[in-house]
């Protein structure tokens, strides 16, 4: 890959992270509105919200410590870091190295640790409850994510996301690919707090999971939280898109990747419109199912 090609790729990647990531929640909201027969917010609503929040003042509770301020910042930075490890677009990711799949999983975990710590730091009972639920779900989703990545790694003989995701394709290992993709879809819904696991539209503290943890953030900090969530959605959607798409070789690959990402967002919107949220006690079973799916994929690869 030539230098100009590389520069072009990095520029497109930066633009994707900056502008396409906030577009995905917009697409989800638009699809949901269209199915419900409403006009819905514009696709760039989140971009506008972020610009508005950035200009606002921040209110901080007197009982909170530095952990509360660090929460959104660390979460955003770890997610950005993860976005530089996952291949988004053609060619290897900017920070690809052998073994980065472990770092990827733990970057997501570190971000979650700080989100939940910030929620606990407020001392609010509801936020603590949300944090406890979020960690319960995350612990189970992590198993599914790791097993799936290990299955792909066993197939590709590589431990770098940039090598293993394009090598793991339908022609040579259909059954494991299907199982792992299904498991990753469940992980995506869990990590981005989407419907069968969590409802982003609910306004009851007792039923919220992700939303309740960020209740106390305001102004720019809330902006960081919203952007971080959108970025995480993009990263995980890119993970699935790279499994489903054939290896992207030239910069034209962006033309295949971006519609796939938007299509995945539209699918999430569709899913949110037609399914109800699972009862809280059933969510762990759902996530264990995801872990089993990728576990079977792993078994099929290694036996």
């Amino acid at each position: 890959m030539s230098l100009t090609d590389r520069l072009l790729q990095l520029t497109l990647l930066a633009l994707t992270l900056a502008f396409v990531a906030p577009l995905l929640p917009g697409v989800i909201a638009k699809v949901k509105a269209a199915i419900a027969g409403r006009r819905g917010p514009t696709l760039v609503q989140l971009h506008r919200d972020l610009a508005k929040l950035w200009k606002k003042d921040m209110v901080r509770s007197e009982t909170t410590s530095w952990v509360f301020s660090a929460g959104p910042a660390v979460t955003l930075v770890t997610t950005l870091f993860a976005a530089l490890i996952v291949p988004i677009g053609p060619g290897p990711a900017p920070l690809a190295f052998e073994g980065d799949l472990i770092l990827f999983v733990y970057l997501l975990a570190l971000g979650r640790f700080f989100t939940t710590s910030a929620a606990l730091d407020t001392g609010s009972a509801f936020e603590g409850m949300g944090a406890a639920r979020d960690l319960t779900f995350a612990a189970l989703a992590e198993v599914a994510l790791l097993f799936g990545l290990l299955a792909a790694s066993a197939h590709a003989g590589s431990r770098s996301l940039s090598t293993l995701l394009p090598t793991f394709d339908a022609a040579t290992s259909t059954a494991p690919l299907l199982l792992v993709s299904a498991a990753f879809a469940i992980v995506l819904l869990t990590e981005s707090a989407r419907v069968p696991v969590d409802d982003p539209n609910t306004h009851l503290e007792l039923t919220m999971v992700h939303e309740v943890m960020v209740l106390d953030h305001s102004g720019p900090a809330l902006g960081l939280v919203l952007y971080g969530a959108a970025l995480k959605l993009l990263v995980l959607a890119a993970l699935i898109a790279h499994l489903l798409l054939p290896p992207l070789t030239s910069q034209l690959g962006w033309l295949a990747l971006l519609p796939t990402l938007l299509g995945l967002a539209a699918l999430i919107g569709l899913l949110e419109s037609v399914t109800a949220r699972l009862r809280l006690s059933h969510v762990p079973a759902f996530l264990v199912a995801a872990a089993l799916l990728s576990g079977f994929g792993f078994l099929l690869e290694v036996t």
Partner: protein, 214 residues
């Protein structure tokens, strides 16, 4: 045998096993087993991989008959029986839903491991077929022995038989006669189901539930 569409169908069959064991509503259970039947019906068409040119007539017939009986006729009979019964869901299985899911997961994992050893080495892609067949048979068995409602037990028997059918996919090229036997067994199941439903459940077990003699 190693066609990618064929292996995706096998994966779908494997996942439907879990859905059957996890489902508590009987209607959803019957829908799932009907879908499994249709998926099984597609299998003989794809067993060659992707060759559609020299498809034997027998395979088409087997496909149609299987999809029709397993996917439409038997589920319709079960749904009809369900309408006559006052029960809508499996309330108290002998082993709860989550433990039976765990058991099914263990069974499937073992089936995958043993599938590699048991599959004939001459046929590529046979390992997944054997794994799916074993997993389906074991799931059907689990459904059959741990549930109390007669309808669920029949569905368990159907799932078990579906596993046998998947196993038959290995032999479809060598001995097509076996496939025909499989279809015949299906017919027997259909009649068996009909017999139980029409004569026994409603008369002997007004609650539609297997009862302990004590």
């Amino acid at each position: 045998m190693s066609g990618s569409l064929f292996s995706s169908l096998l994966v779908v069959v494997m996942l439907l096993n879990f859905y059957c064991i996890g489902a508590s509503r009987l209607r959803a259970l019957i829908r799932a087993v009907s879908l499994q039947g249709v998926v099984l019906g597609l299998m003989p068409l794809l067993v060659h991989g992707s060759a559609t040119a020299d498809l034997p007539v027998l395979h088409v017939v087997v496909s149609l008959v299987t999809a029709l009986i397993k996917g439409v006729v038997i589920p319709q009979l079960l749904l009809r029986a369900l309408r006559a019964l006052p029960i809508k869901r499996e309330v108290e299985p002998l082993i709860g839903t989550v433990p039976s899911l765990v058991l099914a997961a263990l069974a499937t994992a073992l089936a995958i491991v043993f599938g590699q050893r048991l599959a004939p080495a001459s046929t590529p892609g046979a390992a997944l077929v054997v794994a799916t067949a074993l997993a389906t048979v074991l799931s059907g068995f689990l459904l059959l022995v741990t549930r109390l409602k007669a309808v669920t037990q029949i569905v368990g028997y159907l799932v078990l038989e579906n596993g046998v059918f998947v196993f038959g996919m290995l032999l479809v090229e060598a001995i097509p006669f076996f496939v025909e036997l499989g279809i015949l067994l299906d017919l027997v199941v259909g009649i068996f189901v009909m017999g139980i439903l029409i004569h026994h459940i409603h008369r002997d077990f007004p609650t539609g539930q297997r009862e302990d003699p004590s």
